[in-house]
Amino acid sequence: MNIFVCVKRVPDTSEAIVKVDDSGRGVDSSKFSFDINESDNYAVEEAMLIKEAKGGNVQVVCAGTQDADVMIRMALAKGGDSAIRIDDPRINVIDPLQVAKVLAAAIKGKEFDLVLTGCMANDDGNMAVGVALAEELGVPHAAMVKKVEAGDGKVKVYRELEGGISEVVEMDLPAVITIQTGINEPRYAPIKGIRLAQKKELTVLKLEDLGLAPEDVSESASLITLENLYIPEVESKAEIIQGEPEVKAAILAEKLVKGGLL
């Protein structure tokens, strides 16, 4: 089974201070730490599990700058066979439909059974690229998948719905699946794999190499415009308790007990 797995490098902003930059349309990312997007990491693992069970190869695809190479090499170290990185500043990363168009151009015309990608990028939260990619490739898709059973010419997937219910659907191959976190336990790259990964093929392409007209995937061709960013005002009614940790803990304990909450 031949698999493409699409990955994105994203900042971890869970504990970072996020500030809008001077342009008003971007953020100051100089202090962020970056890594593979969480659900993409699960997609990489799922690709390896399928390859181990069924044979075939796994190709990693990424639209990003050279900074993404460390992350791509990690996916290769886990068992990926080769990688394609589309490195072009003209790609309008704000528009998920344009990103999907770029990824599709890198995959189109090649033989594949499955395309896997994370169901959501933690930076933009669009949850759109994978499903748009399927439409660009003209193949069926299923989003937010927590279990994959790849068969002969078919794949059965369990989509995780609200309330923890699963919707089981079957699709003809080839197909695109967007992977939900928690589907597996992503492995650490083995030392030997890390050494081997340095020798694996990582092809860097420009839009023209994919036969794409840059203007088709640049901001001018996008049908949506990001006008400006702003930090939302948090309407918090929370009473923030002050002091040293033990003082805060003691005040909170008293409030809970004396306030009748416990």
């Binding site: 748009a132 299923a142 219910i165 659907v169 996008s222 049908l223 006008e227 803990a249 007990v257």
Partner: protein, 324 residues
């Protein structure tokens, strides 16, 4: 004039709340521009849903056909593409739900629609639509606008507003299905219900909730000791369940349980909207997190901004002392 069409969402015989939330927002948008609100419903045996939605919009268009008994992205896409081309609304709203995210991006690509996902609000300025969405898990908001010709497509975030009163009396029209035969590239098989655990956290009076901030399984005893001192049950955010620290039956949020305890103590949980949707109905909420900008504080009654590993043991100790 902005005519707003809304895709009704239903599953297993229930009309989902996102539908009425979107109709409420649609009425606000259309109201500012003198447009019409139209609900679009695809289903089988769904007369009662159509009737109910009539209270929230000007018109309900519905297809009642056994082919739509269960959601299938391919069938939905085919029919919605035909309906959008026929009715040409300015704005089409689909829920940013497990159904909507499985459907909307492909529909947008097929029809080359201007598309913005996970929209939390839609403003209108000079007759133009200005959707708002977020980046960096709620830390930044963005004003967007559309270019090109309508229909404009958005997926709209769940639980981002209160459902309004059913003040309208819209017409209900059954329409012929544009889908003449079944499509078979993707086939619905069945639903598998969520696993049942030893504790039903939807019934718990007091919940201690743990998230990514606890970092490792070996730190869970800290939480267990606090829960014991509070006589609380333990639950968690998606991160805690993905990491295997807790079972799936303990997950709070859109893909887990919705809880309404008397007291909810969120520890090391940043508060992604999917989590907030599952717990903001708690009577009292305490948040302990070292990031002062964490969205969890927006729903909290009491907050402690600090290292949980310093605060939690002291809290447990003090509670034991006070409760004897």
């Amino acid at each position: 004039m902005v005519n707003v069409y809304v895709l009704a969402e239903h599953r297993q015989g229930e009309l989902r709340e996102i539908t009425l939330e979107m109709l409420t927002k649609a009425a606000a948008v259309a109201g500012q521009t003198g447009g019409e609100v139209v609900a679009v419903l695809l289903g089988s045996g769904v007369d009662s849903f159509a009737e109910k939605m009539g209270g929230y919009c000007d018109r309900v268009l519905y297809v009642d056909d056994p082919l739509f008994a269960d959601y299938n992205s391919e069938k939905y896409q085919k029919v919605l593409a035909a309906l959008l081309q026929e009715y040409k609304p300015e704005l089409f709203m689909i829920g940013h739900t497990t159904q909507g995210v499985d459907l909307a991006p492909a529909l947008a690509v097929e029809l080359k629609l201007p598309f913005i996902s996970d929209v939390i609000d839609i403003n209108v300025a000079d007759g133009k639509l200005k959707p708002v969405r977020q980046f960096y898990q709620g830390k930044v908001n963005a004003n967007f606008s559309f270019k090109g010709e309508p229909p404009y497509l958005v997926t709209f975030r769940e639980a981002s507003l209160e459902i309004g009163e059913p003040a309208k009396n819209g017409s209900v029209e059954k329409i012929a299905s544009p889908l003449l035969e079944d499509i078979a590239y993707r086939r619905f098989i069945e639903y598998v219900e969520a696993e049942v655990g030893d504790v039903d956290i939807t019934q718990s009076e007091i919940l201690v909730a743990v998230g990514r901030g606890i970092k490792e399984d070996k730190n869970m005893p800290l939480i267990q000791e606090l829960a014991a001192a509070m006589k609380a049950d333990i639950c968690g955010s998606r991160a805690a369940i993905d990491a295997g620290w807790l079972g799936h039956d303990r997950q709070v949020g859109t893909s887990g349980k919705t809880v309404k305890p008397k007291l909810y103590v969120a520890i090391g949980i940043s508060g992604a909207f999917q989590h907030l949707a599952g717990m903001k109905g708690a009577k009292a909420i305490v948040a302990i997190n070292k990031d002062p900008d964490a969205p969890i504080f927006s729903v909290a009654d009491f907050g402690i901004v600090d290292d949980l590993f310093k605060v939690v043991p002291k809290l447990t100790e003090k509670l034991k002392e006070l409760k004897g």
